[in-house]
Symmetry: C2
Subunit: 293 residues, 2 copies
């Protein structure tokens, strides 16, 4: 078994995993995703979960990225500090035997602290493949949105915003639940929420006000998810842009989310370009593995 003959790259998150079979020419020739995120796997059960990947995609070396390398995952891969590019990630790999490596996360620890796990592979991959320039601001929505300053092709600094997790909690566990059953989409309610979020007037009051408006007949149930999503994403964009002047933002991730962030950035008067994170992950995995050989 040699890395040069092809390998499997796994983006292994908290609730899902996606595995890609990379052929010797560096192309993805097969893939699957399932709900076997790290929270579904008990300690001591990671080896069978890895055997299962090889049964589906072939007996190949494995590069594992994401929460699988966290203290809740299989084997902890300590964070590498910013600034971090493909070289730093390759040097920080944790090797398990000759044919399994775990990609480290990236940390920030100066006047602020922050951590990422998983997004770093997409970011260095997007730079390496020329999908994004070596100097840019990237917004990477997800459970925990990341605003990332890429400089000289490396992750220079970043800031995480809990938007996705907060929306999910509000949807499933709060007094707003019955207002949030629908799907958030761009439109008047979303943009109204974005404007309020951008104003910084007070997110935790605006959230309750959506319920008051609904109770008083001033908000339709169908608009609740879009309004609340707009509030949270507006606050998120306010934080991400910070005191920066007008600029261009690259929004990378799943298309449904990148579309909402792109719409919110437009309300803020900022141009954006959407990129799908999947191709970037594959490019990042390939570029890290090249440094193993």
């Amino acid at each position: 078994m040699s890395w040069a003959d092809g390998f499997i790259a796994v983006d292994w998150g908290t609730t899902n995993r996606r595995a890609y079979l990379m052929d010797s020419g560096g192309k993805c020739s097969a893939e699957f995703d399932d709900g076997r995120g790290i929270l579904s796997i008990a300690r001591g059960e990671f080896e069978p979960a890895i055997d299962e990947i090889r049964e589906r995609l072939g007996n190949r070396p494995l590069l594992l990225a994401g929460m699988v390398g966290s203290n809740r995952g299989w084997v902890e891969a300590p964070y590498v500090p910013c600034p971090a590019g493909v070289e730093e990630l390759a040097r920080g790999l944790v090797r398990i035997g000759d044919h399994v490596v775990i990609v480290p996360g990236v940390s920030l620890s100066n006047h602020r602290c922050d951590v990422m796990r998983g997004e770093e592979v997409q970011l260095v991959g997007a730079v390496a493949s020329g999908e994004i320039p070596a100097d840019c601001l990237v917004c990477h929505p997800g459970t925990h949105n990341k605003w990332v300053e890429v400089s000289g092709g490396r992750i220079a600094t970043f800031r995480t915003v809990m938007t996705g997790e907060l929306f999910s909690m509000l949807k499933h566990r709060s007094i707003l639940s019955d207002l949030l059953a629908g799907r958030a989409k761009d439109g008047d309610s979303f943009r109204e929420g974005v404007r309020k979020g951008l104003s910084g007037d007070g997110l935790t009051a605006e959230l309750f006000e959506t319920r008051a408006r609904f109770l008083l007949g001033r908000l339709g149930r169908a608009d609740g998810a879009s309004l609340v999503s707009g509030l949270l994403i507006g606050e998120d964009v306010r934080i991400g842009l910070g005191t920066r002047g007008a600029l261009r933002v690259i929004v990378m991730g799943r298309p449904q989310l990148t579309a909402l962030y792109s719409a919110a950035l437009k309300v803020a008067g900022v141009e954006s370009e959407q990129k799908d994170g999947e191709g970037a992950f594959i490019a990042g995995a390939r570029n890290i593995v090249e440094r193993l050989q």
Copy 2:
């Protein structure tokens, strides 16, 4: 059965209820509280739940306040609009037979929408008993904190902040859960959180940063609840004070919460006075019932 011979006042919330037996002289002579909030009572089961109160405190007329009058409660008591004082609440009572009344909530519906249910009895009671002046700013912490402008003895306007519910969701259902097991208390971590919340820099990023600091060894587990509580209460105070200049705030509610809000107000440079809400509720119930006779 006559109201003049004494009655039972019930503060019936979402998760708890507290019942007070008021004697003919207007004094509370017996009371109990239990976990029979409205969410624990199925539709059609309110009458037995009321019988139970009378079995414990005596066969007296009943004044019911709080979420029992909401659309998830027993019988809906429509909101009365601001400005609302004891007269407006008494006129808005919903009568069920001769011996049960439900207190209406209070709504705001102008450029903003807001609703309250339960706090209004305490507010008018505190004014009627002279506990608070006829013109003041009241902060009423709880699941949903209320900032209330009292003017001429009536609730003139108010704003709700979801602080308590958000803290509870973060504690029980988020990636921060294992950091929030302790009890929030005033101290360095709490005040640091308050300062960050007051700054308005970005609550939804600061929340995640507490986890990053913990992972990077820069925050002890014992300080997590105080820091996050400080962040949320700091944001809450920022919203409540808004563009008002320095002033004095009355903080009314349960002592553990009023102490934290009072400490946060001090960080903001604002004097405060703490009041226990229970005596105010009893005074409010008595003043509303007097208008029935």
